[in-house]
């Protein structure tokens, strides 16, 4: 449906603008999650259900959890001192309305039966897998090496060593 594409695109742009204008990092994270979910709805509408699921699971799930962990780890004292309360309605009403729009779109897409933009045919996960492990298999190997390098790098930067009785980084 074209209308789903346009509405989800507007939601993504609005959520990204609101993310950039927030002062507190946790509030910005809420809007960033909404922006990623809007892009996931667009992917579903464009006939890419596999990538839409991965967008929700990995981007809005795993990567955002990393962000929330780090922000909570570093900023929680500053924000509670400033009197910012996460449960006050002013914080969640904006992201709540935007994600309610996205849910309504998803229900509409599923209820009308034929998901997808008019001129687009759905590409199944099977085709993606065949392409991924056929001509692009060298890319998979390179991605695995990149992830290993990221793992080693994050561990190297994050580990705290205790040398001669005092704690130090590296």
């Amino acid at each position: 449906m074209e209308i789903v594409f346009y509405v989800a695109g507007i939601v993504a742009i609005v959520a990204t603008i609101l993310m950039l204008t927030q002062r507190v990092a946790v509030h910005a994270l809420l809007y960033l999650v909404v922006s990623l979910l809007a892009v996931a709805v667009i992917f579903y509408d464009l006939g890419a259900p596999f990538v839409a699921a991965l967008e929700v699971i990995i981007y809005a799930g795993a990567i955002m959890v990393l962000f929330v962990f780090v922000v909570m780890l570093l900023n929680v004292r500053i924000e509670t001192a400033r009197g910012v309360r996460l449960r006050s309605p002013a914080v969640w009403i904006g992201p709540g309305i935007l994600s309610a729009i996205l849910i309504a779109e998803l229900v509409y897409l599923l209820a009308t039966g034929e998901p997808g933009y008019a001129t687009v045919s759905t590409i199944n996960p099977e085709e993606v897998g065949v392409a991924l492990f056929g001509p692009y298999v060298i890319g998979v190997e390179l991605a695995s090496m990149l992830l290993l390098a990221g793992l080693v790098g994050a561990y190297h930067l994050g580990v705290r060593k205790i040398r001669a009785g005092r704690e130090s980084w590296n």
Partner: protein, 100 residues
């Protein structure tokens, strides 16, 4: 044809917003979040092109972008924690005093 026009327009707007965030915000958490928006916009462009020509290649490239974003964000957040413990602030200008 209008799919590719508006799809690329949306990807371009999201990428520009992410770039604006990288340039304008000084908090390093916001810089990393804007980088995520930019990577996501690049992936959206690939998906739109893949949908336009009905090929799976666009989705394959999106998976590579996803893996790259995961590696980037893990290293970036480790650097952020390290920077915060070093300078006690999340200001990127704090790191301009770094030597070597």
């Amino acid at each position: 044809m209008e799919l590719i026009r508006y799809g690329f327009l949306l990807a371009g707007i999201l990428f520009a917003l992410g770039l604006l965030g990288v340039l304008v915000r000084r908090n390093i958490v916001f810089t990393l979040m804007s980088l995520e928006v930019m990577l996501n916009a690049a992936g959206l462009a690939f998906i739109v092109a893949g949908a336009r020509w009905g090929q799976a290649d666009g989705q394959v490239v999106f998976l590579f972008i996803l893996a790259m974003a995961a590696a980037e964000v893990s290293v970036g957040l480790a650097l952020l924690v390290r920077l915060y413990h070093e300078y006690k602030s999340l200001d990127t200008d704090g790191a301009s005093r770094m030597k070597g």
